[in-house]
């Protein structure tokens, strides 16, 4: 199997991000010296296994089961209500003993598979019925996630779904209409559909009172980032983490710990690798497009590439205090099994959308 320069660079940039992520996860948890190696190996092996799996299983076969996958995933999301374990007041996880999974994380993938399967049947031509149907399914499947309550994951799911429809060619008028109604309906949603906790988060975002715990978290996150300076305090030298000033340092706020250890230089490097990954993936997608009439691999490739890129950026925007914090893991920077598996599957799907590894 030959690998051309672009593919090599894509894999190189991904590897860089994964190593940076593993190092940071290790520095936050610091269990023992072998933990890092073990964690890195597990991450890589799972990505390779999943990629190989999707490479060998014909993508067409996967796609033809799209509706089934979505149905199953939805069933798992609903079953969390019954079998799930509760952490921090919300039921999100299914406990498999060796691994707790958060089924709602996978909805981003399942919905995409379903949409591609459905649209491929109509050669990716939207009409009013299809447009409304797909939007309806998106919102109706988001409902149980939001009810869990997991507003963050639910919102990300909806945004991902909309992005998919955007890539696949849903007409602009729908986005404009939805944007306007979201703005018009926001007071109603705020007053009648949000819990006190969620409202508190929004209020705290606009408040200047530094003593609010949400504000405090953001402040601590900014302190971590800023303390890194230009070149950082060095690997394993995050004082904010050592003295527990940053809550959820091992999940949502892990990038602040990374920034504290590796400084602005490290941040620039990681963002450069991310940009490299996204741009090169898109270039590949664009060029491969000429090879075939079936657009599905390219839609999927573009979609998953953007999911990874934007998830990364959203998380970084949150921890640096530019947008409100909702629970959103940083791709490849988390020891959360669901997120890791989810992104591995995405990578596998990207690689298996033909041509990537073919050279």
């Amino acid at each position: 199997m030959l690998i051309d320069l672009r593919s090599f660079l894509i894999i190189f940039s991904l590897l860089g991000i994964i190593i940076a992520g593993s190092l940071t996860v290790y520095s936050v948890t610091s269990i023992d010296a072998f933990y890092f190696v073990r964690f890195l190996l597990i991450t890589l092996i799972s990505i390779i296994l999943v990629s190989l799996f999707f490479n060998y299983v014909n993508l067409n076969r996967v796609l033809s089961a799209g509706w089934l996958i979505l149905g199953l995933n939805l069933a798992l999301v609903l079953s969390v209500e019954i079998f799930g374990k509760e952490i921090n007041g919300s039921k999100r996880w299914l406990d498999f003993g060796f691994l707790s999974l958060q089924p709602s994380e996978f909805m981003k993938i399942s919905y995409a598979l379903f949409v591609i399967q459905y649209l491929r049947f109509f050669n990716f031509k939207f009409n009013i019925f299809r447009s409304f149907l797909l939007l309806f399914i998106l919102f109706i499947t988001a409902a149980p996630i939001i009810i869990q309550p997991d507003l963050g994951t639910g919102l990300i799911y909806i945004l991902s779904g909309l992005m998919l429809l955007f890539i696949c060619g849903l007409r602009r008028i729908y986005f404009i209409f939805m944007g306007l109604s979201a703005i018009l309906l926001s007071p109603v949603i705020y007053n009648f559909f949000l819990t006190d906790y969620q409202r508190g988060r929004i209020i705290s975002w606009f408040s200047t009172n530094q003593s609010l715990s949400e504000k405090w978290n953001i402040l601590q996150s900014e302190i971590s980032i800023g303390s890194g300076g230009l070149f950082g305090d060095g690997f394993l030298n995050s004082k904010q983490n050592e003295f527990n000033f940053l809550p959820e340092a091992d999940t949502d706020f892990i990038f602040s710990i990374f920034a504290e250890q590796f400084g602005y230089a490290g941040v620039v490097l990681v963002l450069f690798l991310l940009t490299l990954f996204v741009i090169l993936s898109m270039v590949v997608v664009m060029q491969q497009r000429r090879l075939t009439n079936d657009m599905s691999p390219y839609y999927l490739g573009a979609y998953f590439t953007f999911i990874i890129g934007f998830s990364f950026l959203m998380n970084v925007l949150m921890v640096s205090g530019l947008i409100p914090v909702v629970g959103l893991p940083l791709p490849f920077f988390t020891k959360g099994g669901s997120s890791l598996l989810c992104f591995s599957i995405m990578l596998g799907l990207i690689f298996s959308s033909r041509g990537f590894l073919r050279g």
Binding site: F245, T275, Y298, G321
Partner: protein, 593 residues
């Protein structure tokens, strides 16, 4: 439109959004890390670094003859060690070392509290040597507990010294205002205990020292984790006080349970070698006292907490006569030649009131010298009828009435300056001549503290020049009594006071000072105003109404070195009761020279 064109357009659109966000993030992180980095790093250091004050060791108080009267002694306590949580086993072992002092639940509660607050809470305090070594031997089995050191104020237990040293107590609101005006940058939160009286209070700033610091790194819950540095405390300064402790103890013991006071002033520098107030308590008694016990002390009829030497106001009685002799001679109200006939009483012509004197039948023909030696009240009352009010007040003022009497005594009381204003303020009328008659023999409105009496004795001994007495530090301010006496007058006065002790008719003849060369004046001050001896015999049944025995004196009479005042409440006889006490105290003081 062709799917592919559509797809390409939208993908490029998303790519641009992605790039725009990347740029925003890069700017944001540049702002946080490069522009604001130092500021945020400082905030991080504030997050993590914390310190704890280490209480300083307070300075010692040392007597002139070398006794350590107060010092901080190290005590050892067992406290919770925050780095390891003690297990059941360790708690059991700890209890086995202190079987009667602590029990399981108590220890657990304190451990919980420590973990919650992040402070090392004390479980057992003040270990004795045996307990300490028992703990140290087994300390590796006692994980979670550690020995901490601090200091406890220990005083010489003799009760004579309590009023001088004072005591330490928890900082109150009143203390805060007191010390804020006296000590630069007084930080109340740092000082758990402060001096409540005496030297401990006046010299708080010198004695207390400066806190050390222990630096810690702490986590977000405020628990101290690692000690990273230490800054030693500065020990407080030692203070040398002018008290001659041997004489002080002797003086207290000589009062022998009676209420009273003895003050000695060293005439060479006006320091105070003896200042005793009885009854008293041991200064250690107040350290861990319960409020009930403290209340009992406050309510004690003998008032052991009251410093009579600096605070008690007594009518000086006849001991004031030499002082007024100076006044009378200065203003030519009399001279050494004038004689009057003392027939045992004095009738005040203006009111017709009759004042009986102590000796029935009187002293007969009496001049100033005889009036001093034999203590003739009619002579001095008669003299007082000639006093002019304003001159009288001026003279008192020059003798420090109404003024501070000690540089560093606490608490401390002025002797009231008797004047028209004073009487108007307190009794609603101006001074009458009759008031002066009463005051002329040290009764009526006139009252002085024992310290002032000693100082008056010093003024007489030093022929009118005097300084403000002190315990630690001298004040460079020489005072002068307002007088106009010739050297001859002074000589006569000193001679008369010598004869009080040595002449056969002298009221102090029973003192018999041996070769000490004592000069002085006895006094017997009425507690209640009476008119006849019979009336007094009735009164005397109640001990509280018996006269106070007083004595002032100085020695040696030719070159005076010490001045003394003795007040024995309800002791009745200045010559036979107070005088001998003064003699014995002075003997002890002289023996140290």
């Amino acid at each position: 439109m062709d799917n592919r064109t559509f797809f390409r357009g939208r993908t490029i659109f998303l790519t641009f959004i992605f790039l725009a966000l990347i740029i925003i993030v890069l700017f944001r992180f540049f702002y946080l890390q490069v522009i604001n980095g130092d500021e945020l790093k400082e905030l991080r250091e504030k997050n993590i670094n914390t310190f704890e004050y280490v209480y300083p060791k307070r300075g010692r108080i040392i007597s002139k003859d070398g006794f350590v009267l107060a010092e901080d002694r190290k005590i050892f306590s067992i406290a919770v060690n925050l780095n390891v949580k003690p297990n059941e086993q360790a708690i059991k072992r700890l209890i086995s070392i202190f079987p009667n002092k602590i029990e399981n639940q108590y220890v657990k509660n304190i451990v919980e509290k420590s973990i919650k607050t992040g402070n090392q809470e004390v479980i057992v305090s003040k270990l004795n040597q045996q307990e300490l070594s028992k703990f140290l031997v087994r300390s590796n089995e006692l994980e979670g507990f550690s020995v901490i050191e601090n200091y406890e104020r220990i005083y010489d237990p003799h009760p004579s010294i309590f009023h001088i040293l004072g005591h330490m107590g928890y900082l109150s609101e009143r203390d805060k205002t007191y010390f804020k005006s006296r000590i630069d940058q007084f930080t109340p939160s740092l000082w758990r205990k402060v001096g409540q009286s005496g030297i401990e209070r006046i010299y708080e700033e010198q004695l207390r020292g400066e806190h050390g610091k222990r630096f810690f790194l702490r986590n977000a819950r405020g628990q101290k984790k690692v000690e990273i540095g230490k800054e030693d405390f500065t020990e407080g300064n030692d203070l040398n006080i002018s008290i001659n402790f041997n004489a002080q103890k002797k003086a207290y013991d000589l009062l022998d349970g009676r209420k009273g006071s003895i003050v000695v002033i060293d005439l060479r520098d006006f320091s105070i070698p003896v200042a005793v107030s009885a009854p008293s308590i041991s200064a250690n008694d107040l350290r861990d006292i319960s409020s009930k016990e403290y209340q009992a002390l406050l309510n004690d009829k003998k008032r052991p907490l009251f410093n009579r030497a600096f605070m008690g106001l007594y009518p000086p009685g006849s001991t004031i006569k030499p002082f007024f002799t100076i006044f009378a001679l200065s203003n030519s109200y009399t001279n050494w030649q004038e004689q009057i006939y003392d027939d045992g009483f004095f009738r005040y012509a203006e009111s017709g009131r009759v004042f009986n004197a102590w000796r029935e039948g009187g002293h007969g023909l009496t001049d100033l010298s005889k009036a001093l030696v034999e203590s003739s009240n009619p002579f001095f009352m008669n003299l007082a009828t000639r006093y002019e009010k304003d001159f009288f007040t001026n003279f008192l003022e020059s003798g420090s009435f109404g003024k501070r009497l000690c540089v560093d005594c606490w608490p401390h009381q002025f002797s009231p300056l008797i004047s028209d204003q004073w009487k108007t303020k307190n009794f609603g009328s101006r001074l009458f001549r009759g008031d002066l008659v009463n005051m002329g023999v040290g009764q009526g409105y006139l009252s002085v503290t024992p310290l002032h009496l000693a100082l008056i004795s010093a003024m007489i001994a030093k022929k009118g020049d005097y300084e403000i007495p002190f315990l630690v530090k001298k004040e460079q301010d020489i005072k002068k009594l307002n007088f106009d006496l010739t050297e001859q007058d002074w000589k006569k006065l000193h001679e008369s006071l010598t004869q009080v002790i040595y002449s056969r008719n002298g009221t102090g003849i029973r003192i018999q000072p041996g070769d000490m060369k004592l000069a002085g004046k006895t006094g017997t001050a009425q507690v209640k105003s009476i008119n006849s001896k019979e009336e007094y015999d009735d009164l005397r049944e109640n001990e509280e109404f018996r006269d106070h025995a007083m004595f002032i004196g100085f020695a040696p009479y030719d070159v005076p070195r010490y001045a003394i005042s003795v007040v024995i409440e309800n002791g009745e006889w200045g010559g036979s009761v107070a005088g001998p006490v003064a003699r014995d105290v002075l003997l002890e003081v002289f023996s140290a020279d």
